[in-house]
């Protein structure tokens, strides 16, 4: 009987790939966001609104992760932006090998900003680094103000939080303040934008911040 010291990260294979992507992104001068939320929180609508409002001022591309269909890539492509669809065939998150394949279809050198829309899931995507500069969490108010405290890992890790569908606040029991307070406790440095893709409220500030972050 012998004991063998190991001390290895179980996700080291993914981490090694993510570290390689991160060096590649930096060398090519492209900023990368990993957009994470529950299904239906509005990630693709936010992408559409953001890309339209950027109006070509930044050279963007999108990697779309879904379990099935390429509907989201079609919606993004309709905004005039290159979109690569990954169909995970059941997997609950994107990982290094999937991103590696998607990157083959993109000309990173021509881009300012690459947005990766992860599979709709508040839990699993957080564990898999994709080499992004920042995670962006989206929470729609219809999901309830208890979600940041119930699923803290994402809201702790995200550099930006987009609280979506705020036009619906008058009709539901969701305390915007509770969302803000919880997220401030989880990550005091987080940048928060309250937005509505339906009315356009808050989007101007978010897009202005994004543009200066990409150029900064």
């Amino acid at each position: 009987m012998s004991e063998i010291e190991v001390g290895r990260n179980i996700l080291e294979a993914n981490q090694t790939m993510a570290d390689r992507f991160r060096r590649q992104f930096a060398a090519q001068g492209v900023k990368v966001l990993n957009l994470i939320s529950s299904p239906g929180a509005g990630k693709t609508s936010i992408l559409e609104q953001t890309l339209r409002r950027l109006d070509g001022r930044l050279s963007c591309a999108v990697i779309e992760g879904d379990i099935q269909t390429d509907e989201d890539a079609q919606r993004v492509a309709a905004c005039g932006v290159p979109a690569v669809q990954i169909q995970t065939q059941g997997a609950c998150h994107l990982d290094g090998p999937m991103i590696s394949e998607a990157l083959e279809a993109l000309d990173l050198g021509s881009l300012d900003l690459l947005i990766i829309e992860n599979v709709g899931n508040l839990v699993c995507p957080v564990d898999f680094d994709l080499g992004e500069d920042m995670k962006v969490a989206v929470l729609s108010v219809t999901e309830g103000d208890d979600k940041p405290s119930k699923y803290p890992a994402l809201f702790r890790a995200a550099g930006v939080l987009l609280v979506n569908k705020i036009d619906l606040l008058p009709y539901i029991d969701c305390g915007l303040e509770r969302i803000h307070d919880t997220c401030r406790a989880l990550n005091p440095k987080q940048k928060v934008f309250d937005i509505s893709c339906r009315t356009g409220e808050g989007l101007k500030d978010w897009v202005a911040w994004l543009e200066s972050w990409v150029r900064g």
């Binding site: 009987m1 063998i4 190991v6 179980i10 839990v123 005091p188």
Partner: protein
């Protein structure tokens, strides 16, 4: 929900280490998992037991040590339990607190013959 893919990565590491050290039978795999790592120990054990069949780790027992979520205050140095939401340091009230453990996900050691 991704315990199976974590179990696959785990088994891959165990088999690599077993081959590197020339062992024929792994009897124990000890992993450390942080309380905030979003990994359910019983699901990981279930998945690991399914896929270890037919390998040198077929009889290996998976021993999971859960690492508590702890934080440290940068203002006063106090340590605190972070398993529930902590808005400010209970000792000095500072909000300059950071997780110091709880996100671990690694293979500590294996036992083999």
């Amino acid at each position: 929900m991704h315990e199976l893919s974590i179990a696959q990565s785990l088994l891959g590491i165990v088999l690599q280490e077993a081959a590197r050290h020339g062992v024929s039978r792994v009897t124990k795999v000890a992993v450390k998992i942080g309380a905030l790592a979003s990994v359910v120990p019983s699901s990981l054990t279930f998945s690991f037991d399914l896929i270890k069949e037919g390998t040198v780790a077929a009889e290996a027992v998976l021993e999971i040590e859960q690492v508590p979520a702890m934080g440290v205050c940068h203002a006063c140095g106090a340590e605190m339990d972070m398993s529930a939401l902590v808005a400010a340091c209970p000792a000095c009230g500072s909000k300059d607190i950071e997780l110091s453990s709880g996100q671990e996900l690694y293979v500590d050691h294996i036992e083999a013959e």
